[in-house]
Every structure is written in structure tokens, then in C-alpha cells.
């Protein structure tokens, strides 16, 4: 059944609440080409945010009040204007976070970004699907776990993830295949034990996410013969109590060109905020509460089981 039909059957309408999060997707260039990536980021992609768009985003964040600003990609490290974006946005919201695949951050040309993040009190959300090399490398590329561990050690060395430092290092865990993620609390407990025991690595919180059947992950599902079963799984796991907490209700998502969406998945699917192209420079007020949100069947991934937002599992 289509999600629209499921919602209609249950008398649920998906509409915007008060916007608190500005998520900025700086583009699709990435040093990795992960098999679950919904935006199909990779080394061959060239789409990256230009300087005027960076300034337009900073200006929008300055005239509107967001609680959280969330920078994602692609690999944000590969954006030449990232230092300007960080410096411009850091004073404008109580929390500024940057997502990283860790491997980019450990490249010699980008390790200086760690100091920049520290100086601006940026929270780091690092992708690490598993502590098992077979699983991590299958999703993200050969040798990724080893290089991710190196990056985490560097971050710990700067105080990131260390209790009392005030520097937050969170982990983002996506399943390494066509199955749903583990319970967030249990996964956090296990990662904490294993990372401490095997690598002496500390972190703050861990967030689990379901893979969304878009982009490269959808292609992999199709090629591996898992698409039908995965779509059925997330549809059958629909949980109506997740709806009120979905990130699309409170997020303003901006793509590399400055166009607006309700979340990064709708960005990948080309479903614009309010169903039409609107540029961040035209954003003079926050989207009114009650504004309808475009939906499609990929949204089932966020409503499955405990549900998922950009800060992990909804229901604990």
C-alpha cells in the first residue's frame, strides 16, 4: 500500500511543525562511494555549493532562528568554502553539527578541519556502521574501518568524545544490508564496550538509522534482488506513533544549489518543499506550521519500527 494511502486510512496528515533545524547538503562530491548512499555521492560527482550559495545560506540562518544547524553531503570536508560556512554559521545557532565519513577527515589535507571544528564548538556526527571490518568495508570500501578508527583516535586526542571536554562526538550507524538497524540503546552499549576494549576510543551518543531505498542503496537493492522484500519490510513495520516526530516536520533542508526541501531524503528524491523550487535566498520566514509535506514510499524507512530522524531512533 502507498504511504499516502496508509496515512489516509488512519486519518493521519503529515504536516510541518515549527521549524527548528536547518540542514545544509553542501553537495555530492565524496571521497567514498558507499553502497547505501541515498544521494549517490562519490569521487566522480562535481556538484558542490558555490560561494554565493554559501553566503545565501549564512544570511538565511542569520535572519531566521534555528536551534540546530546540520551540515551534510557528500563529504563536507571536500567543500573549499567549508571554513567560511562553519565560521559564518557557528554564532547563529545553539548547536552546529557537521557529518563526516571519518576517512575524509583523516586525510592529511583535511585534519586541520578538526582544529577548526574545535575552535567553533562544532559537534561531529561520524558514520561508523560496524566495528566488524567485513561489514564496514562492504558498505563503505576496503580499509575504511581501519582509517575510521585512526580518525576517531585523532578526534579523541583533541578532546572530542571525551567526557567533560564539551566537544561532542556522536556515531551514526546504518545497517550494512537490506535489514533494519539494531535497537539504538543496545547498539550504543555494544559499540562503547567494543571501541573502548579494542581501540581505546570514546564517543558520546550513538544514533541508528534505517537505510532509505533511494539512490545507490535502491540500485543495490534492485541488483541484489532485495528491493521487493525490503520495501515490504519497511511498509509492514509502519508505526503511526513515529509520525509526529519525523524530521521533515521540523527541518528546512537546503541543497548545494540553495533549493529547499523538507528533508535530505526528499532532496535526494527531488521532492521540493511545498512542491515547487524555492531558493534559500527567498526564505524570509520559517515555513508555517501546518504546511503539507510531500511524501513518497521512501518515507516508510523513517516510519519503520521505532522510527528514525536525523538524530537517530525516535522511540527508545
Amino acid at each position: 500500500m502507498l504511504l499516502a494511502e496508509t496515512l489516509q486510512e488512519r486519518g493521519i496528515e503529515l504536516r510541518r511543525a515549527s521549524a527548528t533545524i536547518l540542514q545544509i547538503n553542501v553537495g555530492f562530491k565524496c571521497n567514498l562511494a558507499c553502497r547505501h548512499c541515498h544521494v549517490e555521492a562519490g569521487p566522480s560527482r562535481r556538484e558542490m555549493m558555490d560561494v554565493p550559495t554559501i553566503e545565501a545560506v549564512i544570511a538565511a540562518a542569520g535572519r531566521l532562528q534555528f536551534q540546530i544547524i546540520d551540515i551534510t553531503g557528500g563529504a563536507p570536508e571536500l567543500l573549499p568554502g567549508l571554513p567560511r560556512l562553519i565560521a559564518g554559521l557557528a554564532p547563529l545557532a545553539p548547536k552546529l553539527l557537521v557529518r563526516t565519513n571519518l576517512v575524509a577527515l583523516a586525510l592529511p589535507e583535511f585534519t586541520n578541519l578538526m582544529e577548526l571544528y574545535k575552535r567553533h564548538g562544532v559537534c561531529i556526527v561520524a558514520s561508523l556502521p560496524s566495528i566488524n571490518p567485513g561489514q564496514t568495508d562492504a558498505q563503505r570500501g576496503i580499509g575504511v574501518l581501519e582509517r575510521s578508527v585512526s580518525a576517531l583516535k585523532l578526534l579523541n586526542g583533541l578532546g572530542y568524545g571525551i567526557e567533560g571536554s564539551g566537544l561532542k562526538l556522536d556515531l551514526a550507524v546504518n545497517p550494512t544490508g537490506a535489514f533494519l538497524p539494531p535497537d539504538q540503546t543496545q547498539a550504543e552499549k555494544r559499540f562503547r564496550q567494543d571501541l573502548e576494549r579494542k581501540h581505546k576510543i570514546a564517543f558520546n551518543d550513538l544514533f541508528t538509522f534505517a537505510n532509505v531505498p533511494l539512490g545507490r542503496f535502491r540500485n543495490w537493492l534492485e541488483k541484489s534482488g532485495n528491493l521487493g522484500a525490503y520495501r515490504k519490510k519497511i511498509e509492514e513495520s509502519f508505526n503511526p506513533s513515529t509520525i509526529q516526530h519525523l524530521m521533515c516536520r521540523t527541518t528546512v533542508s537546503v541543497d548545494w544549489q540553495g533549493f529547499l526541501y523538507d528533508c535530505d531524503f526528499n532532496l535526494a528524491a527531488g521532492l521540493h518543499h511545498c512542491g515547487k523550487k524555492k531558493h534559500v535566498s527567498e526564505l524570509t520566514e520559517l515555513p508555517p506550521e501546518g504546511t503539507p509535506i510531500p511524501i513518497a514510499d521512501h518515507c516508510y524507512a523513517c516510519t519503520a519500527g521505532t522510527g528514525f530522524t536525523c538524530s537517530g531512533s525516535i522511540l527508545r
Partner: protein, 110 residues
Amino acid sequence: MKTYYDPQDLARFKEIGKNAPELGERFFDYYNAVFADGALSEREKALIALAVAHAVQCPYCIDAYTVACLEKGSNLDEMTEAVHVANAIRGGASLAHGVQMRKIAEKLSM
């Protein structure tokens, strides 16, 4: 019925409650309680179930607990070791009974 085992039948497991609903309900309540987090985590219990599934050679259980193990955060290394545990116990049980064979043979032999 073309085959005895059909993957679609796994989703029909609950139908076993028909004709004996009270027994079915009691079984599923017990089943769910067994697999809940306790002294052992749900993940550890799923790994035990996977090993037992191989010992009893139940294709439905192997299917269900392979997925359960992955969804509870286990990896293929751990799951393969769990199957080896089942195999070691099955093989070990055969070999341990060899002592009985030896005792009988030794009694009968000159």
C-alpha cells in the same frame, strides 16, 4: 503443495494458534518472553537461536534468525562461529557416544 518447505509459510507461523488458540497464545507469550532482553541480551539470544536452528536444521528458523542476528547488530563472523558451536556439539555428541561403542565392543571382544 509442490514442496514441503515454502519461505512464505514463515509469515503464517501464527496460524498454528487456530483450533487451539489458548495453547497458541500461551506458546507465543512464552516465546516472546524468552527472547526479551534479560540476563542475556536480545542479540546474544538471537545468536543462540541461530545455532539451535542449525542443530535442528529448521529452514524457517535459519531464515528468521539470520535476519534477527543482523538486525540486532551481529556480524557474519559471529554468526559463523555460532553455527560452528552447533556443529561442535552435534559432532561431539556423536563422538562421545563412541565411548559406548568401545565399551560394548571391548566387552564382546577377546
